[in-house]
Symmetry: C2
Subunit: 377 residues, 2 copies
Amino acid sequence: MDKKIDGTVEKLMLEAIRLAGTVKRRVSPNPRTGALVLRNGEIIGCGYHEKFGGPHAEVNAIRDAGANLEGCEMFVTLEPCCHTGKTPPCTDLIIASGIKKIYVGMEDPNPLVAGRGIIKLRQAGIEVVTNVLSEQCAELNQAFIKMMTQNFPYIIVKSAITLDGYIADEKGQSKWISSPESRKVVHEMRAQADAVLVGVGTALTDDPQLTVRDAEGEHPLRVIYDPEGVLPDRLRMINGANKVPTMIISGPHSTPVWKYNMEQQCVKLIQTEKFGNAGLKDGLKQLGQLGYQTILVEGGGRLQSMLAELSCIDRLEIFSAAKLIGKGIRMMEIPARAMEHSLSFIKSTWKQSGPDMHFTGIINKYNVGNGLNHPVG
Amino acid sequence: MDKKIDGTVEKLMLEAIRLAGTVKRRVSPNPRTGALVLRNGEIIGCGYHEKFGGPHAEVNAIRDAGANLEGCEMFVTLEPCCHTGKTPPCTDLIIASGIKKIYVGMEDPNPLVAGRGIIKLRQAGIEVVTNVLSEQCAELNQAFIKMMTQNFPYIIVKSAITLDGYIADEKGQSKWISSPESRKVVHEMRAQADAVLVGVGTALTDDPQLTVRDAEGEHPLRVIYDPEGVLPDRLRMINGANKVPTMIISGPHSTPVWKYNMEQQCVKLIQTEKFGNAGLKDGLKQLGQLGYQTILVEGGGRLQSMLAELSCIDRLEIFSAAKLIGKGIRMMEIPARAMEHSLSFIKSTWKQSGPDMHFTGIINKYNVGNGLNHPVG
């Protein structure tokens, strides 16, 4: 690949970010990364991390650039790894390649790296420029960074609401508030998420499949929060668990008979020690530790409210439909606030989605680098 | 004005519609109209109705075209009048001008005209083409048409709501849900409306001015629905009624002392014979008969709900803000509906308004013509 880019360091890092973002399938629990190799300011190699366990972006970029990279420069969105995971350390390959200077977007929040990759490169005599567009690089991997720094998965709450603020009618019917166009966007979100979560109420009322049907991509893990262990076999997610992975988070009350029965249906179980909100929090933490970093919550008002009480929602995705139903089931209830102390968002966007309006509101933003975690150089 | 337009009948009528829409100030209770005069397919005169009581669009277009219009053609969005109101009948002028053919957008729903203008033109030997883009022409004058056909004003309900569907917090505080940009749009709406209506609750809680401050244009009439006659002098709308016209709709219970006091403050009064919803309906009807065709409702949930129960809301204007407050006062409550029977809109649009999303939903649409009201020709 020989392509001249007439630009500055920032432009080149933006190109590496763009590359990292082109990956379609989930790479989790790995981060999404992009890398460039340049000779005399000219891009001679591009790479991104394509799939979990596959070669890292740096390896792909170096392979793309070909042999003899003596004196070349590299751009990479995330600090190269210096430990052996599914693949050997990227730092060794970079050092061996002859690259003399490397621009790093952000430090790796993974405690196994956390600045040590940069130190290793410098010790080998490579010039390292750090924190190049670190915020934009961090945006690529919000769930990964949250997991690494807080040991808790990234929680996205999705809701379709009527103009008067209801997510279902009085009988609990929610089919369909939003348009086919919006439902397609939700399927795309599922394909990006590691797991989709609903509560026992939604599982029983809607008997949803929570699979990716209207979009490209693999099904996420389907998770039902069922603290009492009451879900029956007849649900499509349960009796289809042999085809699409399904997991139940249940509490200390669930009986051995019910658990045995669920396992017979190929349902995986997470057992929490605690009840109520604490039980849900524990279950989510266990999900994270199993490698499910991004959880898309498609549950009803009750589950949403529990998550809001736990203050663990990172992003809201709301599809607002041009409909009124007068009365029904409310969206998540947060503790009442006065108007001047309303909960607002770090960043929010509105986007037309067929006849609906799709709102995205960022509640928490995760960043590392800037020498805060680990002193570098 | 000499401007060639290379187009069809529809294109020319669209130009007349565009002209009609350029009027900035209220022309009510007159309709907004536009007219063109053409000689050999070339526009030689343009006109629109600029202000109430001023010359009609046809008169302005003929004046603009100059003398000797023998054999010319005319386009006009609304049937020319044939009665003497504030100005002489347009039909007489058109007949005298020598115009030989006229394209009429829609029949005038005014019972004083209602097809008789068209008949008069035809009787004078002028060729009349009717119903040219009649729906688009009707869109110019929804309030006028509703008033003429239903003897009731056009009701626009405006609301600013949080993402979770509240119009005020638990203490009734609504300042400020929406952004300065949205509030500017509301002031523009006020300048277009004939009257702005709030309930006694909003008047007491917010003590609003309801004037046009962040936009160009004249203040609308300020109307408060106060069925029991309890509003005190101290409110800005009451003690400022000598500067900006203010009216109260009150019921049979209001005392002579209170009424006398209000009139001393220059407040105009509308007295209804009935109570509750019927009283409000009666008050609105009286407002319409006084020439206030477009009523912008800026009241709270209770007033909105009464209007919803009366099924008299024609258009919703909702400013949705990226904020959550958890609990508070709800938007209007309509009778509960199942999801599959949700109230939807004839037409709805979403538009970014600063950080907010501005929703416009048309509930009722008014049209005349197509020979339904009055057989023509």
